[in-house]
């Protein structure tokens, strides 16, 4: 069978030594994790490897020897390296040697107890240790299946990724540490760390605890009985601001929970929520700083009343038009006048109410604008609620028109059934025939005629007010769409894809490097992103 050797590209220029890594016998492949340099004491190496094995649960062992000869004098070294094979008793013992700066290495195996001593083909696959370690192509940690299943189910390459990712502790020592063992791996030139990341990790625990405490207080207050009486609970359910605030509260609870994320999806979800909250609050602060400068709140309050007046005037014009002969249709004069006057009076009431509120508008707006610091989404929800409150009269007209139309249609359908001599059987939920008395038929037909001829008027009012309500609903719907977009856009994933695309790995890619006859096949394994 073909022997596959996964060699880290950072060790290509390392000094001679022995190779440590993991041997996966089911796939006949060796994953090399690091190179241990001379001089070393074999007992210490074995002790160190058993320590690493205990901590990481990865069966790390000595796999072979690596000889990087700058000059051409290595006759005695090859026997020395073969003797090392007997000391470490590894079957098969892999020997990789590189001459000078040549790209083509020779790789051979030593089998002491092999049944068929034929030459097997060797494939050398280079991989970038850092990217393979950070990309999450290995299976999740909490699969409770036995190791046999794991070996079969896990695809070959995910086992490689798993090995490298779990051996993180092996990469924590660099060449400046004074230990008995000198390793070369991707971090051997200096362990990478960022002060900011470390500080944040240290600070995150107390911050999370504080946040959890505050959130439990707030949710306790929200759940108290005082706020659950009928008018208040109805009000809270209608206002979209409360819904958005509840949503954000839930998000905060998810972020500030004490348990670490179990797997990759939960981690990404937490990170996305966190970034989304940050961006939201930042945009909200920006909006607030823009709004509170140059007395814009005052300007806004000043223009609000004239705008409401203008809307009311337009509605009055519309009603006058409906009361006349709208679009050439002939309305029933009396009903027209009644409905028109009723709605006009309603508008008059509304305008007086707005004028009553006008001195307080600026102060209300000022305090409500402060809540924009909770986030842009909250500000947008407040805007949508303000629009709903200002166009409340349109909503009322829609309800009146719809109720009237609904009643009329029910009446018409029921009287139409009477006209034909049928009746709706409530018990059986179907239409049955029924014999009516003469006076019932007479009055029924009369009412039917009246309702039928009043139908165009009511239908027209219903149509006009439904269209107006639809307009308001569309505007509110667009605002809510924007709010949902900000809430659910996975910004962290997008940023990760643009900046560190290997962390969102979706697969691998192989590239065939230059070949030479007699030398093993050289491939480069790269992580391909989404």
């Amino acid at each position: 069978m073909v022997l596959k050797v996964f060699f880290p590209s950072c060790c290509s220029s390392a000094e001679s030594g022995i190779l440590i890594g993991r041997w996966i016998s089911e796939q006949n492949s060796a994953v090399i994790l690091a190179v241990v340099h001379f001089p070393f004491i074999p007992v210490q190496v074995k002790h160190y490897l058993s320590e690493v094995q205990r901590v990481t649960k990865v069966s790390v062992s000595v796999l072979g020897s690596w000889s990087h000869s700058k000059q051409q004098k290595e006759g005695s070294l090859s026997e020395f390296l073969e003797d090392l094979g007997t000391i470490f008793s590894r079957e098969p013992w892999i020997q990789i040697s590189k001459e000078g700066d040549s790209k083509f290495w020779s790789c051979s195996t030593l089998q002491k107890h092999s049944k068929n001593p034929k030459e097997e083909e060797v494939i050398l696959v280079y991989y970038d240790q850092r990217k393979v370690m950070l990309s999450h192509l290995h299976p999740p940690l909490d699969t409770a299946t036995s190791t046999d299943h794991k070996a079969e189910d896990a695809s070959k390459l995910s086992a490689i990724f798993d090995t490298v990712a779990k051996s993180k502790i092996l990469f924590m020592t660099d060449r400046y540490d004074d230990g008995p063992i000198k390793l070369t791996h991707w971090q051997s030139d200096g362990v990478e760390a960022s002060i900011i990341v470390e500080l944040m990790k240290q600070a995150s625990v107390p911050v999370c605890m504080l946040l959890t405490f505050l959130l439990s207080l707030i949710s306790g207050v929200c759940r108290s009985r005082v706020l659950k009486f009928w008018p208040l609970s109805f009000l809270w359910s209608k206002l979209s601001t409360c819904e958005q605030l509840g949503h954000r509260l839930q998000h905060l609870q998810v972020i500030s929970s004490n348990k670490k994320a179990q797997n990759q999806t939960q981690l990404m979800r937490k990170a996305n929520i966190f970034v989304s909250l940050l961006i939201d609050v930042a945009l909200g602060m920006l909006l607030m700083s823009w709004l509170y400068r140059k007395n814009r709140i005052g300007h806004l309050a000043d223009t609000l009343i004239p705008v409401a007046d203008h809307v009311a005037e337009e509605l009055q014009d519309l009603l006058q038009w409906l009361m006349g002969a709208p679009a050439g249709l002939k309305m029933n004069r009396a009903l027209d006048q009644v409905l028109g006057r009723f709605f006009l009076y309603h508008i008059h009431l509304w305008i007086s109410y707005i004028h009553l509120m006008s001195p307080f508008i600026e102060m209300i707006l000022w305090y409500v604008g402060l809540s924009a610091c909770l986030g842009l989404t909250v500000a947008l929800c407040i805007l949508s609620d303000i629009i709903a409150l200002l166009t409340f009269h349109i909503y009322c007209f829609y309800v009146y028109g719809a109720r009237l139309y609904c009643l009329k249609i029910y009446g018409l359908s029921s009287l139409w059934r009477l006209f034909r001599g049928k009746k709706w059987n409530v018990l059986r939920q179907r239409v049955d025939s029924c014999s009516y008395d003469l006076d019932q038929l007479f009055i029924g037909t009369l009412l039917f005629t009246i309702l039928l001829f009043l139908l165009p008027t009511t239908a027209l009012y219903y149509l006009v007010f439904t269209l107006l309500r639809l307009l308001v609903v569309i505007v509110q719907g667009l605002i809510h769409l924007l709010v949902d977009l900000i809430d659910s856009l996975p910004l962290y994933s997008i940023i990760l894809r643009l900046c560190r695309s290997y962390r969102l790995a979706a697969g691998v890619k192989f590239r065939v490097l230059e070949q030479q006859d007699g030398k093993p096949l050289r491939l480069l394994m790269q992580v391909s992103h989404l």
Binding site: V2, E121, L157, K509, F510, Q515, P520, L521, S528
Partner: protein
Amino acid sequence: ERRYRSASGAPIALRRRQHSASCRELAVRCPRLQLRSLSAATSAAWLAAYGLFVLSENSMVLSAAIFIMLIGLIIYLHFVKIDQESLLIIGSLGIQMTSSYASGKESTTFIEMNQVKDVVINEAIHMQKVIYYLCILLQDPGDPQGVSEVVPLFQSSKPRLDCLIEVYKSCQEILEQRKTAPQSS
């Protein structure tokens, strides 16, 4: 490199390379973008734009036409026009399919060897023709005899049966090695 024809009659070329005993690369080169068709499309679009300009006396039409042509050409070269499709088979690792677009973009898919059940030539009804195509059958993890997915290869170059037979033979030689290999170790 040998020349063949695609299903629609255009000339394509197949190149086979053997990197080692268990690694082969088969690349099919599609017909290039013809200068004739490009200039014909461009002149037709610009004539139409000039006609609109004469009718409407608005010079924005001309600049809009130029802009749209450029954007359309870039989109076509980057997302639509495939220059070469190649298949890299590494016995014991897997099969990798690469499509390279005219703008240089490459899109790669790698399928591991334990997921590959077989590589076969299938027939399909495409528009008004019946064509042959090469596909990879993926193993169903639960059912050893079942096929979970069919992945078609060389979809934009659509080689004819003679080219497909060459590719099929090369693939089968490598795939047979994995059947004989477990018995020897």
